[in-house]
């Protein structure tokens, strides 16, 4: 079995034949040898690589934990045309979106306002903490998609700065 991987922006390839594996990264790094895998509990595996132990568990927000440390890795089947993806989706959007579920306390800008990089756009409260969402760059407010008092879901776009 051969699968392509992606970690951060870096590609890699994992090949598995019986109890042998070979992992190559595009930057030249990698590892190969013998492995075995055991399921500990739902969401947690023990992988022995060349007799060294690694715990692979379900991590934060679709990532994985490798010996407790988070790792974002996606895996693809190279034979499939439709690029079926496993693992977590990447982060990073142009729009200013709610990073967590919460409530909009104040909207500080209106469509058409010009804003500086770092200028506060909207204040969102979650878990009793108010967080000001700032503009990532200078520009003009193209859209305000929320209002004070609105309940917002994680990832919901609040403001678009064009």
């Amino acid at each position: 079995m051969t699968r392509e991987t992606r970690t951060g922006g870096r590609a890699g390839r994992i090949q598995i034949e019986g109890s042998r594996f070979r992992y190559q990264r595009e930057d030249g790094g990698g590892a190969e040898g013998e492995f075995s895998i055991a399921s500990l509990e739902p969401g947690c595996q023990s992988v022995l690589l060349n007799r060294r132990a690694y715990r692979i568990a379900k991590g934060p927000r679709g990532e994985m934990l490798v010996n407790g440390r988070p790792l974002a890795m996606e895996i693809f089947d190279p034979r499939e045309l439709s690029l079926r993806k496993y693992g977590p989706a990447g982060r990073g959007r142009q729009e200013i979106s709610a990073p967590m579920p919460g409530k909009v306390v104040r909207v500080l800008v209106q469509p058409g306002d010009s804003v500086e990089a770092g200028q506060g756009l909207v204040v969102v409260e979650a878990m009793k903490m108010q967080n000001e969402m700032k503009s990532p760059a200078a520009g003009r407010v193209a859209e305000v998609r929320t209002r004070a008092g609105a309940t917002v879901a994680a990832g919901e776009t609040l403001i678009v700065v064009g």
Partner: protein
Amino acid sequence: MFGKVLVANRGEIAVRLIRALREKGIRSVAVYSDADRASLAVSLADEAAYLGPAPASESYLRIDRLLKAAQDHRAEAIHPGYGFLSENAEFAEACAKAGIVFIGPSAEAIRKMGSKTAARQIAISAGAPVVPGTQEKIQSLEQARLTARDLGYPVLLKAAAGGGGKGMRRVDREEDLSAALRDASSEALRAFASNEVYLEKKMIEPRHIEIQVLGDHYGNLIHLGERECSIQRRHQKVVEECPSPVMLQHPDLRERMGEAALRIARTAGYTNAGTMEFLVDRDLNFYFLEMNTRLQVEHPVTELVTSIDLVAWQLQIAAGERLMLAQQDIAWRGSAIECRIYAEDPENQFLPSPGRIAHLREPSGPGIRLDSGVYAGWEVPLEYDPLLAKLAAWAPTRDEAARRLARALAEYEIGGIRTNLSFFRQILADADFRAGRLSTEFLDGRSFVREALGAEEEAAAAIALAMAASASEPMAPGGQAKSAWLAAGLESLLR
């Protein structure tokens, strides 16, 4: 002693209190909102009472509903925990009126010491040094401007009724004062149902060291030494320890600060457990900051080092028993360090990260104490403070305690939500932390990056993911022979 006590709180502290009650043979009543029906506290308690919808203002802050629950369940006393109504004098008064014992100080003492401005006056009259600042609440922006000019920037805006860094803002320039005042008072109003704020001079690189006191109704009053809580993020304590590293070098400081705390407590007529917070400057001058008229989040480190169960004593004192401990009975043995595990994202400005705990592996072993309020499968609600658990380590020396805590942090795994575990692993590895060089500005200018993984660790993850992906396909290509358990376990990685 009481036969039944209602726990007017949630999360890890509700679990802590329920455990203490069970150890004393007292029945416990948990309370819950719509978001907490499936909470660990409710499942551990003897009885449970529904309060109302998820927002705290409709459940955990509703005095009428808490009292009704206590009466319905025939509880003789209420333990408020920390946060919520724990420092609310009206609640203490309402309890007394309803014939229910409030486990904490008197309403009068809460009123005196719970208001930061009133507490400063008492500290001054008790002869304790205080941080320069306003004696009264800020009435107007103009008054704030003039006071801040007098004190000199930077200044701190603080909620008079507050704690935990909520309703607090550092202001470096006059032009930022107006926005900071607006945000601090609105945050204070939401968190403490009072928008009163006051101003204080911001000290440079102070240590935050607090003194635990315990007093009964017969005039017996002792202190249990200090906790150093200098490592704070946005004025919220994240790492706490006992003894303070400075006390190890200057044992007389504990005695002097302890005496100052006792003088303040005596002047206020304080009973039950309470904490005096001080700032300590580089020359070991200390200044009274405020008092917390309740059990502190970080009380476990004191318990680990003194072997005194603070919650047990709170119950005994509230039930009218005498404090059977004299000051000379208190001894400090070894070193304890605690970190507060939050559902928040250290890689993204520590934004809260509510959601379902998809995987949980908790540390244990020698010298480890875990006060947790969660379990695998628990949905961390977005309505409340994102504290999941407190992890503490005890050892004969500070260095061993730090190693032990680092070991436990490496065992701890929480999946599904983001947590600050990796942040603590990096603090524990920090040379300044290991040397005990602490200040409330410890975290300023320190960056916390994602921990790097090696090629073999990535390979292990890739194998698990590849096996999981193939297990979830109807026609799995040839790999290792898979048992149904392994296949199910692997597939669960992808869900």
